[in-house]
Symmetry: C2
């Protein structure tokens, strides 16, 4: 007799683990830097290297992205969880989020967008496609360069997740969780 | 004098934290269940609730998705990291990945796709858009239902990240990392 899985239906919800917290930097028409926290997004293509972020049309960043066709994604360390959370609560329409937090905008040298100086890892992107889905529109950005704090790299010179200490967003409980322990090598532990 | 950030350029790369490991289930034309590990993807819209996954045209899952327009995303616990890794190494064209691992395919009751019985959280999706980007094509799936193991839920009945113990993929080091400690409440810690 086939065993029945003890799974229950909880309806159509946006629950997935892990979900990132991406800090998206844009300029508005007047050149004022804005920053927003985006949980719906991730890498979406290897060649060209691309990252996707989804935004509601009502957001200030949406207008900036439509205008400038450029953005950055700054990845915060867990020590900046409060600032990252604030970036997702306030709107750049009413507040200058850089000034409020004391974090510093740096103009990218490759795209027309600012990033957060204090955050260790930055992706600098040009919008190559916009995809209207529903409440959210997806912006697909080609990654033109990646910048990383030198002291956040490992011996091989690439970004070190154990130093960067990125964190994730839990869409079910609305909590933030840190990065845990190393489990194994990808493309390796499954060969056995 | 403006302080210069000590960031170095490492070129255009697909490095982002956290990056998920999504286990995508599809049927082929003959009805054989296939399963693949996908790192490029994530939630992309709240209404309708949608998840995006990116696949190369060369994969077996790509053909299945084009044919069936349905898929599931199973989220593995860290105890199944080996099986998840294997799902990303082997191709369903040459191997029956369910049989090899001993994990059990379960036919979704809402979409024409199988999921992994042993994995605690499952999203069941219908493809509503395909977006050709470059090497990867993105499939946007509307989430029709979410299923979760009853013993993996918290007191409020929703999926409990601390019980599920999801893990992430580090695109820089090609390592898998577990979920770490609770850092704070979203939409809350940033209000101060």
């Amino acid at each position: 007799m086939k065993e029945v899985p003890i799974k229950k239906s909880i309806g159509a919800q946006t629950i997935l683990f892990p979900t990132p917290i991406l800090i998206v930097g844009t300029y508005d028409k007047s050149g004022k830097p804005n920053i927003a926290a985006v949980a719906w997004g991730g890498i979406c293509c290897s060649k060209p290297p691309c990252v996707a972020i989804s935004l509601r049309e009502a957001t200030y960043s949406y207008g900036n992205l439509m205008e400038k066709k450029a953005f950055t994604v700054s990845v915060p360390s867990e020590k900046h969880a409060k600032e990252a959370d604030y970036f997702g609560i306030a709107s750049g329409r009413n507040e200058n989020k850089f000034e409020k937090t004391g974090l510093m905008p740096v103009k990218s040298d490759v795209v027309d967008a600012p990033y957060v100086k204090e955050f260790p890892l930055v992706l600098e992107c040009i919008v190559i496609q916009t995809v209207k889905i529903g409440l959210h529109t997806q912006f697909i950005g080609e990654i033109k360069d990646v910048k990383v704090d030198e002291d956040m790299c490992g011996a091989d010179g690439s970004p070190d997740i154990e130093k960067i200490k990125p964190f994730c967003f839990d869409p079910a409980s609305h909590g933030y969780y840190g990065t845990g322990k190393f489990i194994g090598e990808a493309f390796s532990i499954g060969r056995k």
